[in-house]
């Protein structure tokens, strides 16, 4: 089984999120970059599938030259081949991203399975996997939390509003997964060494216009507050019990 896993380089953010002065980007001067959590699980799932079924894992990203670092992180998790669709520093929208990925999948495949994260952590567009599936004429299921292989297809599952939904898809198929489908491994030392030496293939994607365009970003105004301190240590428990009583949550 030959699997293509697509990832995105996103800022690593912690307790606060700050923007560049022009309001166009997240300020990353004090932080680094990582891969969206759902997508790290997509790569882990691809590696696990090929460990069981045989085959290859190719990781692909569309992004600036620096996104090579995220591809190497994914090579260290067990992917065997890496492809960078190299762009400038500007953000690509969902339609142009999907078109470029579909074109690259055609040029570098064939693949039995294309795995994505359900949505990117930063832009949260919720559509690239579906658009890629349509460009390639493949069936697609999104938000998947369980994935199994059948004779000529895959069986994908998720929970929706407390009930289990199960989809049987013929292969090749496009699947987007959510965190929780697996627990991504930590890269092994040999994995890291292999990733460092590996070649990252570069392709130049053809840009095309996007119908959704960012004007600027803002940090939503939230009620600025400082928690009222009820006390310190176990001595604060009576005050805490009184509060829970007032909130009406005590049995």
């Amino acid at each position: 089984m030959d699997v293509l896993a697509c990832v995105k380089r996103v800022p690593m953010v912690g307790g606060r999120i700050t923007l560049t002065e022009d309001g166009q980007e997240v300020d990353t001067r004090m932080s680094g970059f990582t891969v969206s959590p759902h997508e790290e699980c997509a790569v882990e799932e691809a590696v696990q599938l090929t460990e069981r079924e045989g085959g290859t894992v190719t990781v692909l990203t569309l992004g600036p030259p620096e996104a090579e670092a995220q591809l190497r992180d994914m090579l260290a998790l067990g992917a065997g081949r890496a492809i960078l669709l190299e762009t400038g520093q500007e953000e690509w929208g969902p339609q142009s991203t999907a078109a470029a990925i579909a074109e690259a999948a055609r040029a570098t495949g064939p693949y039995d399975l294309l795995l994505f994260g359900n949505e990117a952590a930063d832009t949260g567009g919720y559509q690239v996997p579906v658009r890629v599936a349509h460009e390639l004429g493949l069936p697609c299921a999104t938000g998947i939390k369980t994935l199994g292989v059948s004779v000529d297809g895959v069986v994908a599952g998720r929970e929706y509003r407390g009930r289990q939904e199960r989809f049987a898809l013929p292969r090749p198929a496009v699947i987007s997964v959510k965190e929780g489908i697996n627990l991504p491994r930590y890269p092994s030392l040999p994995g890291r060494l292999r990733a460092k030496r590996a070649t990252v293939e570069r392709l130049a994607p053809g840009a095309r216009p996007d119908g959704l365009r960012k004007t600027r970003l803002t940090v939503p105004a939230r009620e600025s507050r400082r928690a009222e301190v009820l006390g310190t240590g176990p001595e604060a428990v009576p005050a805490l019990v009184a509060l829970l009583d007032e909130l009406g949550v005590l049995p």
Binding site: V13, G14, L19, V130, H134, G143, R163, V219, G231, P234
Partner: protein, 349 residues
């Protein structure tokens, strides 16, 4: 013109889902200023019939026309088939369904197609975007059509930690709604609802991907709907430290929730994770213990009515989002709290 809103029903078909009521409220905010009507696309009505309770809910939400799909053998959730049905309604309005209509034909082509920002809503609108070649904007907060037909909108990024202002060229505009940011409020004046059954024309392959649904998973209080959530983070220290938190959650009739570090360490299963890539919670009380408050975590719990923090660090970012805090070690505070709650339950006479 009309604003067409994908509207889902509860599994028994009795009434409209909360998320869809929010999407309908958002749809009214688009339709009102333009003097347009809101139409609902109901694709999951059992036996293609709309129950009285659902009709009342739609009328209260200001829906003029409910297009109720008769999918026959094709009934059930199939994302591409649902997108095909929306595409048909959006381009032709009642033109194809007028004959079957039981009410006044009042709508035309859609100016916007709206869905709740749920797994189904995002997936169906993404398919609709792909089959029509139209752009789609997910998790919108506001949208309005400006001069020249271009839409100005705001939408969530980072699960709501950032707001994006954007323009969208789309006719119709395809928008999903950030359900935690729009209240499920009824219309000021209820609409007179017309029900228009229709049978979508599906293409080959539209049913290739189709859900088989199995019964609800039982057992325990659901994290998403729990009235009380007791949260544990890195400060719990390891997989063996969750006993007192679970005990407290049990005493309060609530659920245990954890931060991402806890699940990525394998201390607890992912289904207990609160946050951007886990569950969004909406409890009366969120008691967050040993959690620093990364934005990805806060994205999942800011809808809690009251947040109370137990943390050794008085400068932890989560204190800026909480109403109350106890500064201290959760390993001491929580067992003492459990004891105190127990003592109240069973007072010594």
């Amino acid at each position: 013109m009309t604003v067409l809103c994908l509207t889902e029903l509860e599994p028994d078909g009795g009434t409209v889902t909360d998320a869809s009521l929010r999407a309908l409220a958002f749809s009214r905010s688009l339709a009102g200023p333009a003097g347009e009507d809101v139409a609902a696309a109901v694709l999951d009505a059992p036996d293609a019939a709309l129950a009285g309770e659902a009709r009342a809910a739609l009328a209260a939400a200001g829906v003029r026309t409910a297009h109720v799909a008769d999918l026959g053998e094709a009934a059930g959730y199939a994302p591409l088939a649902w997108a095909r049905a929306l595409a048909e309604l959006a381009t032709t309005g009642l033109a194809t369904t007028g004959l079957a209509s039981t009410g006044p034909a009042s709508t035309g082509p859609a100016s916007a197609v709206v869905a709740a920002g749920t797994d189904h809503g995002q997936e169906v609108l993404a398919h609709l975007g792909a089959i029509t070649g139209l752009p789609m904007a997910a998790n919108c907060l506001t949208a309005a059509r400006g001069d020249g037909g271009q839409w100005q909108l705001t939408r969530q990024r980072w699960a709501g930690s950032l707001t994006e202002e954007a323009v969208l060229d789309g006719d119709p505009a395809l928008l999903t709604v950030a359900t935690d940011a729009v209240a499920p409020a009824p219309a000021e004046t209820p609409a007179e609802l017309a029900v228009a059954p229709f049978r979508p024309s599906l293409a080959d392959g539209d049913l290739t991907v189709r859900a088989t649904v199995s019964a609800e998973r039982g057992g325990g209080v659901s994290l998403a709907t729990a009235r009380v959530v007791v949260g544990g983070g890195r400060g719990v220290g390891g997989p063996d430290g969750f006993g007192p938190l679970e005990e407290l959650a049990g005493l309060l009739g609530g659920a245990l929730g954890v931060s991402r570090v806890v699940t990525s360490q394998g201390w607890r299963p992912h289904r207990q994770q609160v946050g951007q890539t886990g569950t969004r919670i909406t409890p009366e009380l969120y008691l967050a213990c040993g959690i620093s408050g990364a934005i990805q975590h806060m994205a999942g719990c800011l809808s809690a009515r009251t947040i109370v923090v137990v943390n050794t660090d008085p400068d932890a970012p989560i204190l800026a989002h909480a109403q109350y805090a106890v500064i201290g070690d959760l390993g001491q505070v929580i067992p003492a709290l459990v004891e105190a709650v127990r003592a109240r339950q069973n007072p010594v006479r």
